[in-house]
Symmetry: C2
Subunit: 397 residues, 2 copies
């Protein structure tokens, strides 16, 4: 149930020996002739070599296949890394008898470490030989780093299918993260319309996710359309558009939830909904400030509602807010009224206990109302646990 | 060796019963007649009641005394909190036979919880009775929350003395934090010149400190001048100015170092020096992005140099940088050359070992050079440990 659910795609995954762990680390996704692609990439100015290469491929109208390795990020590797990314896609193109401008690349793993080309290049013929319309799960497994579960989703829109997979557990923040997302459809969609689907349905969803406020060097979201399930192009004005957009969005929603739930060390997903902001941008700034606050995240870990920490994050977010107009609820329990924390909260009565129950749910819903205008936004975050510190304190040592 | 080191100041500290722990929680600092004050306050738009009150006192030219409580922050307490802050300063003024406009107030502790006025107000006569020229350490002890040590510093400039104390261990970030800083001098300085000393010598230092990127509702830095050690005003053009500014800066440096070393759960101080930025503002943005990155902070906890995480933080800081012009050194060991991590770093040789040694020092020096211009800035941070998660996961539960 992954990227090969729609017709017209084959995929494979294998162990090439790039990771010390011996886990699968090389994946390939290929669309039938006529496949189109669109995407969005990290905003980090220190972008990995494959990000630059893939940007160029899409800009030139190409993109029928994508080769993905885990283990090394091929970032901060300079001209050597750029050359090696090209060597990899060239070898894939040759094996598939594709134009070199039709192969995209993604990498994820340790920043700075050179690709283990001596293992990667010889594995490519094997990988190509393993391509199969049932290979989506193998592909999804090969792209994982510290992910603990495979993340895949599917949806349908009439005769069209949509499938997707994703990886990413840390360094996930606004403007994407160490997040790789691949979504496929068998609807026929022109590149410009595919980009509309990325911009409208995928980018806003994945930009809402923040694990630790850290934006990766390698973030990539790619959307492929094989056209294998129809001849009539689906475009912004055609009847099938809304259904297809909805199905792409549904796959995005599912992958987003799976990413948040598997965030490094996370025990709780934080759903931060801000409304009443002067603008959507202000709402987003406030929602992200709460989701990224170490004090809110540790409070969530401890099961402590602590409305003062939420107020602190709102007030220092950078958005222009009226401190006396802030309402805050955790779950169904309102704790802050017009900028004032209900004094009853400190008297250990029903109010505090109700909030504590809401703060121990797997999904903690924090709702902030600013009373300034129509702006609203959601951020999806997680708690900060001992396990996050352990994972990231020991990552390469 | 604290705020009563200069002549013309008396202070006291006591246990009024505001904290469940039974630790000292109420402090008072009073200057002799003629004492002037200046200060700087939190930029958090959710500012505590005493912050608003103290701003007004300074704006009206007052400020001979400051009453400080720990235990409750008196923030997010609305009109009630404003009224109670006024009740407290009025009672202090009455006991000291001062004008009510001469008493400043600071609070630190749990946000939202109402002040325990029933205990605070009756304690004030006792506190006033305990005032003494040797009371600086008692005062410094009474303002602590989760601080583990008393923080005080002194310096001299010719015939003049400078003393100071501070508290703050978390929620410390750019633009001040749950940080209360009190600096005194017996030099005669007019209010406008005192403000120059705050702006020039204290604000930049304390704004460099970040424990967790969280800006408190209560941050306050106050500078008092009693004039008890001389008659001739020290001003920006007089011969004693540079010496006095240097002494105030030295006290600021010492308090800053003490705050960083006592940061919640911290085992290492991070000294992040950025130069070669297009502007000082850009340098500051980059330095703070590194100091606040959970990935850099957990790497410091783990003793892992991980230059990729530093690059990741630089690239997503928001500053316009050229990824191919970044050099990074940890301690004396340069690891990144023109945006490229030295491949030797991954081969476990001298380079990596040298960096690992530097990453295990009590003070970890990270130097980033951007090659874009003359802008430079320093951020002072700390590592992110299990202990930070424990302290903040359990703070009120």
């Amino acid at each position: 149930m992954s990227v090969t659910y729609p017709k017209g795609f084959r995929a494979a995954g294998m162990t090439a020996g790039l990771k010390p762990s011996g886990q699968p680390d090389l994946g390939l996704l290929v669309g039938d002739p006529g496949t189109r692609a669109a995407g969005v990439f990290t905003t980090n100015l220190v972008a990995a070599a494959p990000v630059g290469l893939s940007r160029e491929v899409l800009a030139a109208g190409g993109g029928r296949a994508v080769i993905v390795n885990s283990g090394q990020a091929n970032a901060a590797t300079g001209a050597r890394g750029e050359g090696e990314a090209r060597d990899v896609t060239a070898r894939v193109a040759d094996e598939l008898a594709l134009d070199r401008g039709d192969v995209l690349a993604c990498s994820t793993g340790v920043i700075g470490e050179p690709l283990h080309l001596d293992r990667l290049l010889p594995a490519i013929p094997t990988l190509v030989g393993a391509l199969s319309p049932q290979g989506g799960v193998d592909f999804a497994r090969a792209i994982m780093t510290t992910d603990t579960v495979i993340k895949g989703a599917t949806a349908e829109a009439g005769a069209y299918r949509v499938g997707g997979c994703a990886k990413g557990v840390g360094m996930i923040a606004p403007n994407l993260a160490t997040m790789l997302v691949f979504v496929t459809t068998d609807a026929p969609v022109a590149p410009a319309d595919l980009q509309r689907l990325v911009d409208g349905e995928l980018t806003p969803r994945f930009n809402a996710l923040t694990v630790d406020g850290c934006t990766s060097t390698n973030d990539t979201v790619l959307l492929f359309a094989s056209g294998a399930a129809g001849d009539e192009p689906v475009a912004a004005q055609t009847p099938g558009w809304d259904g297809l957009a909805g199905a792409v969005g549904a796959v995005g929603d599912s992958l987003l939830a799976q990413l948040a739930a598997d965030a490094e060390g996370a025990n709780h997903v934080l759903l931060i909904d801000v409304d009443g902001a002067a603008s959507e941008a202000d709402a987003r700034v406030v929602a992200m400030a709460i989701a990224d606050s170490p004090l809110v995240k540790t409070a969530a870990f401890g099961g402590d509602p602590n409305p003062g920490r939420i107020l602190q994050a709102v007030g220092s977010s950078g958005a222009l807010i009226d401190a006396m107009a802030i309402d805050i609820a955790i779950g169904d329990v309102q704790l802050v009224f017009g900028g004032v924390i209900a004094p009853a909260y400190f008297e250990d009565d029903e109010l505090a206990n109700g909030a504590r129950v809401a703060m121990k749910e797997p999904e903690i819903a924090i709702r902030v109302t600013l009373g300034a205008g129509p702006g609203r936004s959601r951020a999806v975050g997680c708690d900060l646990s001992y396990e996050y510190v352990r994972i990231n304190g020991e990552y390469t040592t």
